[in-house]
Symmetry: C2
Subunit: 263 residues, 2 copies
């Protein structure tokens, strides 16, 4: 879009969305695949009567869920924003919903304006799998020592080069991120690993979790993070934990947060 168009009656929007990622090939648009961006763009383009491209705060992988994903886009300003979430929900498939829509400043970007992302990962620590939890947790039958995991996790906090915890490196090659916290909670058989950072490189949370699980079951020393960071080599870290345990819980902006939690 040219600058003069955006000044002639176009508007920027922010929408908080939720999804059950099980049946999506991830957030990013891919032709021929069912993606979050693809579904949103199809419905938004129909509602606005023009081609809409969306930007997401977190480009979640196939199978990863979101309770507080944020998207932004620019379109004409003839659509009443107070009706946008309702209009989206009546057209979107059941596994993708809109919670909240707002007009934002033209320079707002769901991705670039975000100051913090919060993800949590759900582990079902049990001898037996759970059919009811299978879509939303990773089943771990090995005994986990949560205190070992907590001591190990403390090593993530701070600013580090996460090259060893990165699937596909970003275009600009910058894999330095600042982790503001890792918290490990236990609810009966569930272990919840929460983490907040200014940003996450590709697969970072899942590789962090895979590494913590190896620490938790004694396969890896609890003080191994410094050497893994040092290596700047994906093979130095643990396995990538599977996608179905991961939730994008919320995204923080200077004047807004999309956090949603149920329990």
């Amino acid at each position: 879009m040219r600058e003069d168009e955006s000044e002639r009656g176009s508007a920027s929007y922010r929408v908080v969305i939720e999804y059950d990622g099980t049946d999506f090939c991830g957030f990013q648009f891919q032709p021929q695949e069912r993606t979050i961006a693809g579904e949103l763009e199809a419905v938004l383009s129909r509602l606005f009567g023009q081609t809409i491209k969306v930007t997401g705060a977190g480009r979640t992988d196939a199978g990863v869920h979101a309770l507080g994903q944020v998207i932004s886009f620019t379109a004409h300003d003839a659509f009443p924003v107070e009706r946008l979430a309702i209009a989206l929900n009546s057209a979107l498939p059941a596994d993708l919903s809109a919670r909240d829509a707002a007009r934002v400043e033209p320079r707002f970007s769901a991705r670039l304006s975000a100051t913090e992302r919060h993800y949590f990962y759900v582990v079902l620590a049990s001898k037996r799998p759970s059919a009811a939890m299978r879509r939303f947790s990773h089943f771990e039958h090995r005994e986990l020592d949560l205190d070992r995991m907590r001591r190990g996790a403390a090593g993530f906090v701070g600013t580090h080069d996460f090259a060893s915890f990165c699937g596909v490196p970003p275009d600009n090659g910058d894999t330095v991120r600042t982790v503001r916290g890792v918290e490990i909670l236990e609810h009966r058989e569930l272990v919840l690993i929460h983490t907040r950072a200014n940003g996450f490189v590709h697969r970072m949370v899942r590789i962090m979790v895979g590494t913590l699980l190896e620490i938790g079951c004694g396969r890896r020393p609890e003080d191994s993070l410094p050497a893994i960071f040092e290596a700047r080599d994906r093979s130095a870290a643990g396995l990538t934990a599977p996608p179905q345990g991961l939730f994008l819980a919320g995204v923080t902006y200077p004047d807004f947060s999309s956090e949603r939690a149920f329990v």
Copy 2:
């Protein structure tokens, strides 16, 4: 099976199972339909090399979930029970799993030996639906007054004729049940309605919940239960709440409980 066969090397088993009821046509076997009993009987019959029929503690409807359903069956005793749950899980579909298997007395019946059933119902009380919670909750956008609901729910406790809260009456026509407790908990946007009784007639929990929701949003007086019981007429009670919010949490026997909870 004839009596003399059951004395010649046959054995009785109890298995605790879990399921995501979304894609099942309920517990009870129905030819041509995907049912919990049908899937279990197919796998058990293959494992034991004989036709197996199972009895379930609760005959949950289509779309209803279970975290602690209990089944019983009789078969020959050549299968090592300590390997039964593992063998079942390697053959069952992902939305149905076995947690625990045990040998039991021949006269044990998952249904008739049970002394208490515990169900809970999950309501998402929010202005907007949630894609992530849609399989496991009922979305209620009307404002709910939980204190009104709690006062109303107190009227369920005790021994009553639940004819007004019954879909299809049982064969013996007995709709009297003893409700031991109804508890309404709130976790952020989720409202959990727990109820325990010696037994439940068909659709009883869902009609109780539907009635409580009408009380909670002010459409029905909070002291209306005595008149509904009195009427002995399904149309006197509220709408049947939809199935996807309902979980069979556990079943209690004189010497065993199958309770499972995650949070």
